[in-house]
Subunit: 284 residues, 2 copies
Amino acid sequence: MQATADTKTHAIDEQSILRTRMKKIKHKIAVISGKGGVGKTVTAVNLAIAFAMQGHENRVGLLDADLHGPCVPKMLGMEGQKLRVGPIGAFPAVGPLGVKVVSMAFVLEGKEVPVIWRGPLKMRAIQQFLSEIVWGELDFLLIDLPPGTGDEPLSVMQLLPEMDGVVIVTIPSEVSQNVVGKAITFSRQLKVPVIGIIENMSGFVCPTCGTETHIFKTGGGEKVSQDYSVPFLGSIPLDPRVCEASDLGHPFIMEHPDSPASKAFMEIVEKLTTYIQEKEKNEK
Amino acid sequence: MQATADTKTHAIDEQSILRTRMKKIKHKIAVISGKGGVGKTVTAVNLAIAFAMQGHENRVGLLDADLHGPCVPKMLGMEGQKLRVGPIGAFPAVGPLGVKVVSMAFVLEGKEVPVIWRGPLKMRAIQQFLSEIVWGELDFLLIDLPPGTGDEPLSVMQLLPEMDGVVIVTIPSEVSQNVVGKAITFSRQLKVPVIGIIENMSGFVCPTCGTETHIFKTGGGEKVSQDYSVPFLGSIPLDPRVCEASDLGHPFIMEHPDSPASKAFMEIVEKLTTYIQEKEKNEK
């Protein structure tokens, strides 16, 4: 199929719109993982809220780029919302502390509808989420990417070459460490800085007797960060209330601000802020 | 690009080779999940070993169809192995109890090399894993699919229309249940039977005081199986030794055959065997 003059112009327009819209967002950070189910989405959601709590209320965006299993809306209590469409584009749904959220879940008809798409369509969907959404002026856009090194991460990294970097979430097990290595190599090949590694599910304290059990082992995140000379951002302990809060749609960090897990999230956001400040200094 | 007569003939040949090779395998079961990190690979590995322990030694195959994060070889202590190539195709690597394993990890150069491929190439890779591998005569081929409803699951289902069915692995949380719904709808749309649901990480018993904590809640697997009228195959409790054994490359079910988790795996394999026997009776 040959592109007509019309579709070519359209493609150029779309790219320039994407650039214009993305310029209004000061910082973009992708949250990735090698393996699934390491709590990447829980981490992305709580980091977004933590940024909002640390002086960026109404100025944080969260793109749920997991097209097949979008969970962000459920975890933020935003199920059933839709994107509002206006003449200049669609507007993100607004969650707790003014966090602006875009997700495939806001576009699909029902909860159980699967997105059975192959690569090129996924690239298009993500491009539209960046170019046709009126994100507005934001301090931070967090992008929750599906696990692995496939179409969606590749699309986001290619569409946003100016990204500040990626944060990699892992659980402590060795099996996960191998996959983190792949995620680091992936980011480096695409020339996206790896800001650091977060170890999630890092030990469970029995609520009855206080004994700590390392269900998924411990120290794996720190080890892989040393092996690859990448900063270690922190460990988040296993806490059954994280799962409970996520299922109820209450951001854990707002519900239990004094828990060790919430403190870990807050410290990680401080480290991310420092990283970005240093980066800006060096660029001046 | 137009296909030449040569490439067309090649494509037909490949399809007929695939069919011939797949005919020698009596039963094919895919292990899928909506979300990642629910322990799908651990489940697939232990089910394969459990089948081998239940009278199918040397007659079980395991295809690791996760191209981006292949973990099967590590969990079976088969890291560093390569596929042996002969004149009629490549031979699977052989693991504990004669389980025949094929994985991207046996093809890649180093542990940290990521597979940065888009959809069509992934389809090709999986097709080759099915058509160009000399699997030989097997009773069961388990296929460990990457999470979600994207390219790899789609490819496998389209390439193997005769599949016995899929087993869906989930953790109990509600967020996971939503995604399981998508996996069920996905399978039904592709006309592949859903054999049943396995609930993994289903409660943790403190090794010191014996208190059970439902870290990821409980009962979600059973609930979703009722909601969608799909059989419930069983619950596998959280056990830190599962992660330890997987990291060491020792199949958990062989190391700790008397543990509650191992017993759960064995019961699930009995249910799968019954399902297949019933199916065969009905087809006669």
